[in-house]
Each structure stands twice: as structure tokens, then as C-alpha cells.
């Protein structure tokens, strides 16, 4: 008997097939969606700025002067080209990565990014600083609405990113910038 059969047989002896699935839960968002999003983002160690279209590019460049910027959003000019990276390991030279974001969650400032938008999956993790462009109308209240919009089977990999990488493993002191990006900036678009 294979281990699969052994395990499934043991499970079959134990299950009763009585317990039902509960009905769906609806998220509750008592406050203004955008306000709560900003609070959540700040709590997670991220920052945001709101500017007019013409200023997005200059704001980002002024925040990261002289940096190697890889932009996958046509609205922002990068300083290095995406197709110059054939190997994911080469992306370690990317200092700032700019990505468009089409879905974010108010209650926890989680931002959905999939491999459909990335030359390599490691990009949003290996860069030193991550910048996302987000339309405020793309912010949903809770994870329930977020998962309703996502089709997991349409991508090979997807991730909710909620802020810069962090750790508190050294005597519970919060350190921003663990193995992933050291900072997380959102350019909020409201036009």
C-alpha cells in the first residue's frame, strides 16, 4: 500500500461527512475606505503621496535621486530597461522598482501583484525600494471583496504586499527592511 492509500484510508475511517460549510461572510468597513487605507498603510510602515499626473514621475525621481529605477508602469520613466534582465538574479542591481497596482485592500493596506505584470517573480522582493501606482478607486474594503475580484487560476503566482519587509525577531524591536525592500511607497491616483 502506498503512503497515499495509507493516509486516505486512515482519513476515511475518521470522517463523518456531516459538518457543513458556513455561509459567506460580508466584510464590515465602518469608516471611510481611503482614510482607513492610509491608516493601515502607515501602520504597516509604508508611505503614500498624492500628486497630479504630471508630478508622479518627478516626485518619484526626487525621492530616489540617481537610483537605478526599473519601471513597469508606462507613466513613470525608469533609468534601466526591463528586458536587460534575462536572469532573475541580475535584478539584485535594481534599487527602485515601480509597479502598477490594480487592487488594494483598505483594512490592511494589502496590494495585489501577480507574475503577469513581472519579468521575474522575484522583482518586488529583491529591489531595495518598492513603489506602486494605485488608483484610489481600486481600493476595496476587506479581503472578502479582494478575493472576489481575484482569479487565482489565471496566474502562476500572486502576492499581497502590505508594506516594506520587516522583522521584530531581535528583542521585539521593529526593524523595517529585512530581506525584502527597505521601503514601500504608494503613489495614490485620484483623477
Amino acid at each position: 500500500m502506498t503512503s497515499k492509500e495509507k493516509i486516505l484510508n486512515a482519513v476515511r475511517e475518521a470522517v463523518g461527512k456531516i459538518q457543513p460549510l458556513p455561509s459567506a461572510i460580508e466584510g464590515v468597513m465602518p469608516e471611510d475606505r481611503l482614510d482607513r487605507y492610509k491608516t493601515s498603510l502607515t501602520k504597516a510602515g509604508g508611505t503614500w503621496f498624492q500628486a497630479h499626473g504630471a508630478d508622479w514621475d518627478s516626485t518619484i525621481h526626487s525621492r530616489f535621486p540617481g537610483a537605478a529605477i526599473l519601471s513597469l508602469d508606462s507613466r513613470i520613466k525608469g533609468t534601466i530597461e526591463a528586458n536587460s534582465f534575462t536572469e532573475p538574479h541580475a535584478l539584485q542591481s535594481v534599487e527602485v522598482c515601480v509597479l502598477p497596482c490594480r487592487l488594494a485592500v483598505s483594512e490592511n493596506a494589502a496590494h495585489w501583484v501577480t507574475d503577469a505584470a513581472l519579468p521575474h517573480r522575484v522583482l518586488p522582493f529583491i529591489c531595495q525600494h518598492l513603489v506602486l501606482l494605485l488608483d484610489v478607486n481600486s481600493i476595496v474594503p476587506t479581503m472578502h471583496e479582494a478575493y472576489a475580484q481575484i482569479d487565482l487560476s489565471s496566474c502562476g503566482f500572486g502576492v499581497f504586499i502590505a508594506g516594506p519587509s520587516k522583522t521584530a525577531d531581535i528583542e521585539q524591536s521593529l526593524v523595517i527592511g529585512a530581506h525584502g525592500p527597505r521601503s514601500f511607497t504608494v503613489c495614490l491616483i485620484a483623477e
Partner: protein, 454 residues
């Protein structure tokens, strides 16, 4: 003294340190409260999570088959391991097949349970734990003392000394920012040169065949997106039915664990990167045995958040190492006796049954009631200390007869009134060590009632 009591005594011998540990864990509990109170439907989420997990466990064979089918359709290879040894063999075989001698690992309590690191090192594989806390304890040769914060028992001074020795950081430096930066540089090199990466699985989704890994540091992703081989070790109880169910669990997990609204990264794996290999190993290792028990199967709902540990007054004041089990604290005391009843027989007794753990459990496991149930099983099967056996027998005899009870009460009250305080504390043994005995009443309640209420 029982195993836990003995180790707890050692832990408490450094009072200052024990107090610091207690306060540190309690602070995490308060963060959990602050985050939970901001979610108006928090209790409904707990109900839903409990019900979803119960449903999955009650249909586990169907969901396991569905999960395997869908994962295979995504190009992921699925293996089944009946026990820890088989799991370890399978990991070693995969690594050998791909010529891997260097493996990076993100946090997986399951692999701690299976003692994977030791096994692989014997096989000549270099294993690098990449979660900062795990790397620290790996260097110290210690097991994790908490399932979410593995190095919570260590002070930054000690970590500073360790990093000075291992990474060449400045002697005496203990600034967490500085130390973390050194670890970042060190581990980045490991990520870039790893030949395979292993992760745990927080949730497996039966309907899509995919799985989710939650981290704050980004170490899981840095490993798997650079290495050509990704192995995911998964306990069979980690399944949930559909993607939408993730909403319930992602809303509960981080808030319960650390008080964050969500972990920094919630990574959803469906298919391997083109040209790479992905494996899922489904592990039983005693879980089907727990499933067969109608009482103890509830503990399989556990999502490994650690909230029960943060709140437990015994865990806070005795530390993870006092339990001697892979998973310590309240849930560990319910899971471990299933693995070895005798070795872990003291754990369900390391509790006042206060119920705080059940209060905070996001999936509504009635942990304190399970601890009580385990006590029944243990006292029937594992020889208890002679003093306990005798005193329980005597108490049972006295309580079964109203006259015996009244006479015994009268004699004890007399005796204690006569005995000097320091002596009665000694008689109370462990109970008298840090407590004053209550004042002995003049008469029994029975006598008072007859006089005043009849």
C-alpha cells in the same frame, strides 16, 4: 516534580529575566487585542474559520484528492508522507535528484517536527534557515521557543555577541537595525546562490491546487523565486476548500499572531516558474490519529498563530523550552500527547485551565477543555507520581462520605490554626513557595449555615 515543572523552575530561577519574558509576550497579546477590536465582525470570523476547518476535516479525503489533482494539473508534483522519516527521505531524494547541496529554508514548524535539518545535514546538505529568528537559533543550536517568534527568549546583547562571532559585526553592538542589516547582507548571498528552497504551507486550497505562504521578512519569496527547485512541506490539515475562504483566514492570522492587520507578504503559489520544479509533500505524522478522536480532532483546526502562547500565564512564565515539544504552550500541550503520551504527559497539567487560550484562538479550539480531556487519558494510561495518586485517592474517599468530609475539615482547620505559618507553607510544598495560605476559618460553612440561615 514533573518534567515541565522541573524546567519551569530553572526558567524562573532568573526572576528578572522571567519577568521580562512574561511582559514581552503579554505585550504581543495586547497588540492582538488592539487589532482584533478594530474588526467589528471579529467573532463572526472566528465562527466561520472554525466551521470551515471543521468541514474540511470532516471531508478531508475528498479535499486531499481534489487538491492533489488540481496541483498536478498546475505542473506541481505531489508526494505523500505517512510519517516524519518518510518526509525527510522524500526531501533528501528530491535534493539528490537535482544535485542540491545547499538549501535555503523559510519557517516551517512541520519540518521542526520532522527534525529535517538534522537529517539533511547528515546527508551532507547545507541547510540555511532564512527567517532571522530561525537563523539565530540555528547558529545557537537551539530549537525555536515560540512558533512565530523563535528567538523571543533571547536578548539583543546575546544576539549581538552571536553576530560578532558569526558575521564579524562590531563587538558589543546590539542595535537591532545594525544587526538586521548584517543578516540581510549575509542571507542575500545565500538566496542568490541557493540550489533549492523549502517553505512551509500556511494554507492549501483544494479547489485551485495552489498554496499560500505568509511571511513578514520576504525570506520565503527570496528563496523560492531565485532557486530552480521549490519544495513545500504541508501538514494534511492545512487545507481549505476555496480561494474565497482565504479571506477569513488572512483576516484572522496576523492579527492573532502579532497584532498586524496582515503579514507583509501573503504569497499565492499556483504553478512553478517556467523551467523550474515545484513539489508539495503532504505529511500525516500522527494527524490521522488525532483526526480519529472525536474530542481531540478539534486541535487540527490550528493555524499556528501562537496567540494561545502569548496569552498563557504558564507559557509566559516558563518559556517554550519548558515544554520540550516542537510546539509548546497550550496548543502544543494538546498536540504533543498524541505523538507520545508518556514523554509529554506533564504538559496538559502545566495549566490552571484558565481558558485564556480558548478566548484568543482564532479558530475556536476549546484548548482548555482539551487539556482537561487529555488529563483523563493520561491518568488512566501513565503512572502518576505516588503522592498525587495517594492524595487523589484519599480525597476521593473523603469526599464520597459527608461525615468523613466534615470530620476531616474540622481536623484540618484545627491543625492549621495550631501550626506555625512557615510550617504550613512547607506542608503546602509547591503551592506554599510563593503564596501565603488563606486565614483558617473558625467554623465550616455547614456549621455557619445551620446557625445563621436555617
Amino acid at each position: 516534580m514533573t518534567v515541565h515543572a522541573e524546567k519551569a523552575k530553572q526558567f524562573l530561577s532568573d526572576r528578572e529575566r522571567a519577568r521580562w519574558h512574561d511582559e514581552t509576550l503579554w505585550l504581543v497579546r495586547t497588540k492582538r487585542d488592539a487589532a482584533a477590536f478594530l474588526v467589528p465582525e471579529w467573532e463572526q470570523l472566528r465562527d466561520a474559520a472554525s466551521q470551515i476547518k471543521r468541514h474540511v476535516l470532516d471531508h478531508l479525503d475528498d479535499y486531499l484528492i481534489q487538491f492533489e489533482q488540481n496541483a498536478r494539473a498546475n505542473g506541481v508534483e505531489v508526494l505523500w508522507a505517512a510519517d516524519a522519516a518518510e518526509h525527510n527521505n522524500q526531501v533528501a531524494a528530491i535534493l539528490k535528484k537535482h544535485g542540491v547541496s545547499r538549501l535555503v529554508k523559510s519557517k516551517s514548524i512541520l519540518t521542526e517536527e520532522c527534525r529535517l535539518n538534522e537529517y539533511l545535514e547528515h546527508q551532507g546538505v547545507e541547510v540555511i534557515d532564512t527567517d532571522l529568528g530561525e537563523r539565530i537559533i540555528q547558529w545557537l543550536g537551539q530549537p525555536p521557543s515560540h512558533i512565530v517568534m523563535p528567538a523571543i527568549h533571547l536578548k539583543k546583547r546575546e544576539i549581538g555577541n552571536l553576530f560578532h562571532e558569526k558575521l564579524g559585526t562590531k563587538e558589543g553592538a546590539e542595535d537591532p537595525q545594525y544587526l538586521t542589516e548584517a543578516a540581510r547582507q549575509h542571507l542575500r548571498e545565500k538566496f542568490l546562490t541557493a540550489e533549492a528552497a523549502l517553505t512551509g504551507v500556511n494554507f492549501g486550497i483544494a479547489k485551485t491546487g495552489g498554496f499560500v505562504v505568509c511571511t513578514n521578512e520576504g525570506n520565503g519569496d527570496m528563496g523560492v523565486h531565485l532557486a530552480p527547485v521549490h519544495i513545500a512541506s504541508m501538514g494534511i490539515e492545512k487545507l481549505i476548500p476555496r480561494a474565497q475562504d482565504l479571506a477569513v483566514f488572512t483576516r484572522l492570522l496576523a492579527r492573532s499572531a502579532t497584532g498586524q492587520n496582515i503579514t507583509t507578504y501573503t504569497s499565492h503559489f499556483q504553478k512553478p516558474r517556467p523551467g523550474t520544479h515545484m513539489y508539495i509533500i503532504l505529511v500525516d505524522n500522527g494527524r490521522t490519529k488525532q483526526l480519529k478522536s472525536p474530542v481531540f480532532r478539534e486541535s487540527l483546526k490550528c493555524i499556528r498563530c501562537g496567540a494561545c502562547m502569548n496569552t498563557c500565564p504558564i507559557y509566559r512564565r516558563s518559556g517554550g523550552f519548558s515544554y520540550g515539544s516542537t510546539v509548546p504552550g497550550p496548543i502544543g500541550s494538546v498536540l504533543s500527547p498524541n505523538i507520545d503520551l508518556t514523554a509529554y504527559s506533564s504538559l496538559p497539567f502545566a495549566s490552571t485551565l484558565c481558558g485564556s487560550c480558548s478566548d484568543v484562538c482564532p479558530v475556536r479550539i476549546n484548548i482548555h477543555e482539551q487539556l482537561y480531556e487529555w488529563r483523563q487519558v493520561i491518568t488512566k494510561n501513565v503512572r502518576q507520581p505516588v503522592l498525587k495518586r495517594m492524595s487523589m485517592r484519599m480525597a476521593g474517599f473523603i469526599f464520597s462520605n459527608a461525615w468523613m468530609y466534615r470530620i476531616a475539615g474540622w481536623k484540618i482547620r484545627l491543625f492549621l490554626r495550631w501550626l506555625p505559618g512557615s510550617w504550613s507553607r512547607k506542608l503546602a510544598m509547591a503551592w506554599g513557595r510563593a503564596r501565603e495560605l488563606p486565614e483558617v476559618p473558625r467554623e465550616s460553612f455547614h456549621t455557619w449555615y445551620r446557625k445563621n440561615r436555617k
